[in-house]
C-alpha cells in the first residue's frame, strides 16, 4: 500500500481537486484506492455525494473506539472507496494531542488496511498542525500544489526544510504548479522556471480551468464529465508522474 497526500498550508490551491482526480485515475488503473478526506470542510466527500459523517467522529477513530474500516464508503466508481470527512475533524488536533505518539496516529490507523488497498490518497486540511505532521509521517509522496506566486514558493521552501529536519522516515516531496493561467506572463515564467530552480518541483502543471471548478456542481472527478478537457490531460500526466515515483525503488 502506497500513501500519497495532497498538502499545502494555504487553502484554495487545488489540494482537494488533485486528490479526487488522482484517486480516480489510480482506481481506473486497477489500483484498489482509498481517498481519506481529512478536511472538516468535506469537499472531497461532497464531490463523491457521500454524507460527511463518521460515527463517533474523529475522536472515536483516534481512541480506537472505531476503526477506519467502520466508516469507509464505496463510491460510484469501481475500486475507489472514500473515508468521509466529519465536521468533528476540526478538533482533530486537540484529539491527537491527547493520544500517545500523536504524530504517528494516522499512519497507525492505516496499517490494518495495507492488504486491502494498493493506494491511499490523503486530502489534508490547510494548516500547520499535528494533523499535517501526521500526514507527513504517514505518506510516501507528499504532493504540494503551488500557485504561481512568490509567496507560495517561499512556503514550499519552508515545508521542504521542515521535512528535512523531521526525524525518521521521510516522504518524497513533490511540488507541482496549480491553477496556472497561461495567458498571464508571470504564470508562464513560473511554469518555465520553477521546475529548473527546484529539483522537487515536477514539470506537470494543472491549468486553471472552469471544468475544475465545475467538479463541485457535477459532483464527480473531471475525467468523468469532461474526459477530453485539458484539465483531464493535465491530471493524468500528473498521476503518471506520481505513479512512477511510487513504483521507484526506495
Amino acid at each position: 500500500m502506497k500513501v500519497v497526500a495532497t498538502y499545502n498550508i494555504k487553502g484554495g490551491v487545488g489540494k482537494t481537486s488533485t486528490a479526487v482526480n488522482l484517486a480516480w485515475f489510480g482506481a481506473r488503473d486497477g489500483l484498489r484506492t482509498l481517498l481519506w478526506d481529512l478536511d472538516p470542510q468535506g469537499s472531497a466527500t461532497y464531490m463523491f455525494r457521500v454524507k460527511p459523517k463518521v460515527k463517533g467522529g474523529g475522536s472515536a477513530l483516534l481512541t480506537g473506539k472505531r476503526t477506519l474500516d467502520d466508516g469507509i464508503k464505496g463510491t460510484d466508481f469501481d475500486r475507489l472507496d472514500l473515508m468521509p470527512a466529519d465536521f468533528s475533524y476540526r478538533n482533530l488536533d486537540l484529539d491527537l494531542d491527547s493520544t500517545k505518539r500523536p504524530t504517528d496516529r494516522i499512519r497507525r490507523l492505516l496499517t490494518p488496511l495495507r492488504k486491502e488497498y494498493d493506494l491511499v490518497v490523503l486530502d489534508c486540511p490547510p494548516s500547520v498542525s499535528l494533523v499535517s505532521e501526521n500526514v507527513v509521517h504517514a505518506c510516501d509522496v507528499l504532493l504540494v500544489p503551488l500557485i504561481p506566486a512568490m509567496l507560495s514558493v517561499r512556503t514550499y521552501d519552508q515545508l521542504i526544510d521542515f521535512v528535512d529536519t523531521m526525524p525518521g522516515r521521510k516522504p518524497q516531496v513533490m511540488g507541482f504548479l496549480s491553477m496556472v493561467d497561461s495567458r498571464k506572463k508571470a504564470h508562464r515564467e513560473f511554469t518555465d522556471r520553477l521546475p529548473n530552480d527546484h529539483a522537487s518541483v515536477v514539470p506537470e502543471a494543472i491549468p486553471s480551468r472552469v471544468v475544475i471548478e465545475q467538479m463541485a456542481e457535477e459532483r464527480a472527478p473531471v475525467p468523468v464529465f469532461a474526459p477530453a478537457s485539458s484539465a483531464t490531460t493535465a491530471y493524468e500526466a500528473l498521476w503518471t508522474r506520481v505513479r512512477s515515483r511510487l513504483t521507484e525503488p526506495a
Binding site: 455525494r49 457521500v50 466508516g71 469507509i72 464508503k73 464505496g74 463510491t75 460510484d76 472507496d81
Partner: protein, 526 residues
Amino acid sequence: MSGVGGQCWVGPASSAVPAALAALGADYTVAMDRPVATRRMWLDSIDLRLFHRGMALTAVENPVSGASMLELSLPDGATATAGPDALGWPRLLADLPDDLRPHLEPVLGVRALLPVVEASGTSVAGRVLDAEGKTVLRLVHDRPATLSTGRDPLPGRLWLIPLRGYDAVGQCAARIAQRVGLVPDTPSRYPAALRAAGVDPGGPPRAVMETGLPARVAVARVLLSFLGELEAAVYGTVDDVDIEFLHDLRVAVRRSRSAVKLLGDVLPPALVAWAVPELKLLGDLTTPSRDLDVLLQQLPTLTAGLAGGRREDVEPLVLHLAGLRADERRRLVIGLRSPRFERFRARWRSSLLALTTWDGQPRAGTIAAEVLVERLDRAHRRVLRHGSRITDASPAEDLHDLRKRVKELRYLLEVLPPPTDPADARVAIKELKALQDVLGTFQDSEAQREALCALGTDLMSADAVSVRTIFAMGEMAARLQEDQDTSRARFAAVFERFSQRSVQRQTADPGRRRAAPVTAVAGAAR
C-alpha cells in the same frame, strides 16, 4: 457477468427479474444503462474437468473488436482474467495465456479446452441511487440468452452488488428480490448453461450389466454402451484434439474385446467370429500412435536431470518422435475414416441392437447374474493362477500376460452393478489397481526402453544425431531399466497382498466362492 462480487438471483419465470427491478423502482431511484450485447462461450475439457472442480472458464467476446477476454472463476470464488484473446479453440494447455495456465494445469493435464456452450444475449448494468444521486447498490441484469445449441434459453438473472458502507440497502434489495420469487444462485452461470444446453455433467452412464436380464441381452447392451464410448472418442482422435481421445477409444476397444472374450459365448457364434478380428484390427490400428503419445508425454520426466544431458541433446529425438507420430496419426486417421471402419460400426451396432430387445418373457437359458458371477470367479482364479507361477526368473512375457488377465478382470468388475458393500468393494478394487500399476510400470518401462533402442538404431543409421543424443537416450534407457527392475521387485509383495486378501475373505466367510475379493464386489450381481 462474473467476478463482480455480490449475490446473484434467479427466478422460476423469465418475468421474475423484471418484476424485481420494478419492485426496487417503487422504493428507490433505479437508473439503468443501455443494454450491451454479450456473447459468451464456456470452455472446458470434453469430460468437464473444470465443472467438476467448481471452476468455469468463459471467453467473453468484445462486440467491437471481436477479440475475447478470458475469465476463469476458481473454486474459492476468486477470478483470473486474460486477454484480449483471438486464437481459436480447441487449445491445449501450452497455448493458453500465462495468467491462466497455473490455475488450469493441475486440472486439465493433457486434455484440451474446447467450447461446451455458447450463449448470446444482452446485459444491462444499473444503479440504485440515494437522495443525493449517489450509487448505493449496483445491479446487473443478465437477460435470457440464446444458446447456439438451440435448446432452451439460458435463464436471465439479476446481480445485486452492495457498495461498501451501504449494506442496509443491499439487504433491503435482497428482501425485495425474495418477495418477488427470486432465489439466490451460484455466481457462475456455467451450471445453468449446461442444464439449458442439455449437457449432462455426469457424462453418459457407466455401462452396467443388468443382472436380471437374459445374459445375451445384458451382454449386448453393455457392448452397445462400449460402442457408444468408442464412437464418442472418434472425432477427437481424428482431429487430434488431445491425446486422451485416442486413449478413450482404445479403452472402449479393449473393454469390448474383453467382454467378447469372457462373455461372448452367450452371443451368436457367427457374430463373435466376425467381431473378434475386427476389434483386434481396430486395437492394432491405434497402438503405434498411442505408444508414441505416451513416450512423448514421458520424455520430460525421463530427461529431467539427466546426468550429463542438456535439453538440446534430446531435441533430435523429440523431432524424430514428432515426425513418427505425424506418420502414425496419418495412418490412424485413414483407418478411422475408412469404409471398413464405417461398415464395422454400422454392422456391430445393428447386430447388437437386434440382440438388446427383450419382450420381458422368461425364456430358457441363463440370466446375466449367473454368467457374470461365474466368469468373474473364473477370471479371478486365472489371475491368481498366473500370478502365483511368476518367480524372479520368469520371462517378461509372463508378466505381460498376467497384466492382460488382470485387465480382463478389472473390466468385468467395472460392468458390475453398484456393490452392496461399497467399502469392501473399494478395498478389492484398490488391491487390483495396485497390482495393475506394478504390472503397468513393468511393461511400459520395457516397451519404452525397446522403443528407445529402435529409435537409436534408426537415428544412427540415418546419421541424424550426435553422440550426445545417443548418450542421453542410453541414460534414459538405463532409467527405464531401473523402473522396470523396481516394479519387478515390488511385484511379489503386491501380488502377495492381493492373493492374501482372497484367502482372508474365504476364511472369514467360508460360504463365499473361491474368488473372495471379487465376490465381495459381485454381491450385488446375485
